[in-house]
């Protein structure tokens, strides 16, 4: 969460709700190191990343849900499964992403 703190603070000061998604675990090849975060604001602004762009859109919709419910969630992404149209990581890695509202 370190690298996104200035933006999170600025958005909060501007009166927006903010949700942060953080890579908390990786297995095998993963695009971003553990601790990397993506911040999403109530108005839809995004800053940072949790992958090379492979799962951001799914994380974004989960972030918007957490924005509403206030209930944190742990998401898991694995290898892309073309048959199931799942969101995944083509690089063959797996990541766990924790999504939470910022107080």
């Amino acid at each position: 969460m370190k690298e996104i703190l200035p933006e999170v603070e600025a958005w909060r000061e501007a009166g927006e709700k903010v949700v942060v998604a953080t890579v908390v675990a990786t297995r095998r090849s993963a695009p971003r190191p553990v601790g990397t975060s993506l911040a999403v604001s109530e108005s839809g602004k995004m800053y940072g990343s949790v992958s090379g762009g492979c799962v951001e859109s799914d994380v974004y919709s989960n972030a918007m849900e957490v924005m509403q419910t206030g209930q944190p969630k742990l998401l898991h992404y694995g290898i892309t499964d073309d048959q199931a149209w799942e969101v995944g990581l083509p690089c063959g890695g797996e990541i766990d992403v924790f999504v939470e509202a910022v107080e």
Binding site: M1, K2, L5, P6, V8, E9, R12, T22, V24, A25, R28, S29, A30, P33, V34, G35, Q71, P72, L74, D96, F98, E100, V102, E103
Partner: protein, 249 residues
Amino acid sequence: MTLVARLRELLESGDRAVLFTVVEGEGLGSKVLVIEGGDTVGEGVPAAALEQFDELVRRGRNGIVQADGAKVFAEWYGPPPRLLVYGAVDTAEALAQAAKLLGWTAIVADARATFLTPERIPSADQLIAKWPEDAIVEVAPDHQTAIVVLTHDDKFDEPALIAALDTEAFYIGALGSRRNQERRRERLLEAGVTEEQLARISGPCGLDIGADTQAETALSILGEILAVRAQRPGGPLREAKQRIHAEVA
């Protein structure tokens, strides 16, 4: 004060801390911030996780801690690695610039105050106009500090290297031609430095990437520093057998 504001303060102060967050199990979403030698803020994180604070701070790495059936994410806060360059030559500015790009703290020292000016070395966070021994004592290099010595002058380079060897610095590099390295080696041995200590010195420092300009040389040296830090050989990834992304302490 909000937690975010508090974390921002930590980034500025460089104080060591760990932010614990329960990401699975009882107390989901609970957070506790533990600051080294200071406050503990928040509640709801199992004590078994918090007890690992010392080890987490020492390792300086983010990760999951298992505690009482809960999964707790530990995010580490602490000062960035430091690069100390002894010798206010052109390459020092290029090295300081490259280190700043990595988010590191760049310190440049030289006894010759006329060379050591903010105009010549604008990218350094700190300039120290002292003799090698005193400059290194002031910086107090730890296991998160890299030292590069590049005055090209034995009367500075040798004491700087001897003082550097007396620290926990994870990298010690020296510029200079192969012939100069050999001569320096003899002189350091005469000065009482052991073969084992000499093995810690990367000289000539840098990776073999055909660096020519100051910026290229800086990149070559920083490349070697990163490789040493991650305990990687520094060659092409297509020839590497390990996983691509390193876990650096």
